[in-house]
Symmetry: C3
């Protein structure tokens, strides 16, 4: 079975049926990574280009492992060694890669909409691995796979997302996906980190974390992007964590069997207390494991299985 689409650009335009197909396929791929021989010949002779124009360890590594376990050939291109330092436009760079006949281009870019722009220009499949503060659909899919694995459904669950809502592509993709699948989503964070009009996406908004996580089935904590803050970071960081760090006290407001999620890398003691990150309700590492399976599923659905 295949997706009847060329690209995975965002959660915004994925239907319920498509999401279910991707998650079902991913579920069947989880097992491959636990085998003695972690490899299937599905994508032998296919070429996957990982075009990461922003730094990344986990997403790039996850895609590279996914492609290799499907027997695809992988090529990594990073910003530092790219010809964009020579002034080439993104369009020309993409057309150049297209001319080398890859099958999929996995792409991370600092500009929102970059993969969408290329989508119409080149014939190969594009998977958005993060575009600015816009979307990060494979993260939302692996999050949903993790929720479904533990809760057996997504519809009807109460999901709280806490942190810097305004600058997070993880949040946007998750809101699109979770709302579509029937979850109730509440976002919380400092007023300066909540975008105006976010309620139009169908979520409830709160400035108070405690309100957001009350009776939650799932709490997604967002990474505070410390490296993007300027000089006056420490006073505000401490204040931030006073109000928005998930810890042993405030987590008692949520359901007993709440799932604690985080896209990583985590800042221990900033947005999440160490004992919660490492505790029994945390599924942070399951998210990583499921990330490989989701990416295998997408590569398979887009270019394999004929």
């Amino acid at each position: 079975m295949k997706l009847s689409r060329k690209d995975i650009l965002g959660m915004e335009d994925l239907s319920v049926e498509e999401i279910n197909l991707i998650l079902d396929t991913a579920e069947s791929f989880i097992e491959v990574s636990t085998r003695e021989i972690k490899k299937v010949p599905t994508l032998r002779g296919k070429t996957v280009i990982n075009l990461f124009l922003e730094p990344s360890t986990r997403t790039r590594t996850s895609f590279e492992i996914a492609a290799k376990r499907l027997s695809a050939d992988t090529i990594s291109i990073s910003a530092a060694m790219s010809s964009m330092v020579k002034g080439e436009t993104l369009t020309d760079m993409a057309r150049t890669l297209e001319a080398m006949n890859p099958d999929v281009i996995v792409m991370r870019h600092s500009a929102a909409g970059a993969p969408h722009m290329l989508s119409g220009l080149i014939k190969q499949s594009i998977i958005n691995a993060g575009d600015g503060a816009h979307e990060h659909p494979t993260q939302a899919l692996l999050d949903m796979l993790t929720i479904r694995e533990r809760k057996e459904k997504v519809a009807g669950l109460k999901v709280a997302i806490v942190g810097d809502i305004a600058h997070s592509r993880v949040v946007r993709s998750n809101i699109y996906g979770l709302i579509r699948m029937g979850a109730e989503v509440t976002v919380a964070g400092p007023a300066t980190m909540i975008p105006r009009d976010i309620d139009k996406m169908g979520v409830r908004v709160s400035c108070r974390m405690k309100e957001a996580i009350k009776d939650a089935d799932v709490i997604m904590m967002l990474r505070m992007q410390i490296e993007r803050q300027d000089g006056n970071i420490f006073p505000s960081l401490r204040e931030y964590s006073n109000y928005y760090c998930l810890n042993a006290q405030n987590i008692t407001l949520a359901k007993d069997d709440v799932l604690v999620m985080h896209p990583g890398p985590i800042n221990r003691g900033v947005e999440i207390a160490p004992d919660i990150a490492d505790g029994s309700r945390s599924v942070i590492l399951d998210q990583v494991t499921n990330g490989v399976a989701v990416r295998m599923a997408l590569l398979y659905l887009l270019v394999g299985g004929k």
Copy 2:
């Protein structure tokens, strides 16, 4: 069939027979990259080291894809992570790589003659992927493959090469190859960018672009290396493009079926107008596609086919 040589160092010492063998072989490899399964087992168990001591996206990616489609194992070494930052000589580095028993070392280096120096020292095949302003033979071969594909011959064609002739390794390799294959070559560019004595290579020289491209069958535009210019770049860039940018007006001087070529990455509006780069006479992306085929051919001819 094999080349009876260990290395591909430059076009200067390739015979007509060798060039024809390489182009014929490359032609047969073009098809592999259009298959459903883009892979042949020819170089299984061979090791190709891509030693790129200058930044490069397209050439490195092209070689890496070529090697992988032949089932070779590839290892990439870039300047940044190389032990040359620890003061190791190039010779010692190459001998160290030799001792790991690769089959081919593909090498880009900022110094003219670097691959030639190593050639006599190490037993494995070396392919020059660009040495300073000296040679870039795989570029010249893919250019010739592209010309032959469209014009069915090289001999007798009028080829104009326009731009910074003095600092271009692409030009030198193309002149050697095109003259040997019987083309008539004219080079044009600002007087400060034309090396003295270049006419001794067998080309006609002009300072006026219009004169050079008149009745041309092929126009090769060179990349203006903006990133290597110093501070006073913008006035001179504008002046440069006034005189040496290929556009809808001056291209009418060439033959109607002229081929427009460029080694990339292109500076739109500097050396080539966007409508010309993207127009029907442009074969710039064919060049990229043929680059993979030429590199597959060279890898195959040097170490496969036994």
Copy 3:
């Protein structure tokens, strides 16, 4: 046959039997790299992550070639592109990688003990590829394989190690291994570069190179880490080489069939004279060749062979 241990962290805790098993296995792998098809299917479907948080060419390349010749999938992660620049702890990074189900993590880190710390935390095998100034066990094993290849034994040999003893992980690993295998080891270097209490490791200590290399069967010269010196380097470098450079004169003090070794990259004329580095007694390039074999052996013994 397998090692009955999960990790290779250092020579300190390897038994005589384990060292012999590794060297015997490595010996049988030397031949693979000389074949027409340099590849065995032993580790097909296994994932090897090369996590190099310090720059390295030779060790990373050697491990990557070793893994590929065993048909494993390899993923390289370097410091520059790692999420540690985003403030992630090493532990969290390792757990994240663990969750992607690799089979082996090969790890270089600037902090002594880093791989030991991770060893207890993650379930996959860890191979220490150098931790600060602590250990570099694969270097010691390839050194020992090279000695055994030429001298047919290690026990009873007189081995002199000369240079910056204090800051060298190569030295520490070699001392542990050589002493355990029955060699007599003498270390020599400037007094400021000899750690106190090093004699407790079972070696003889000398400040005079000539004394140390007298009647030696093996001389290991250490790399002077020029790039780690500060501004006042040249006077002291010249003085250093006056006293501690192995050259045609002082080498006559050693046995006639002395082996000259160096872990590379070498500083010609600083710690070793060019004619000695390239001379008939030098086995420096054999060390490199044997490095691939030793790493193949370790990967095989830790995760293959079931």
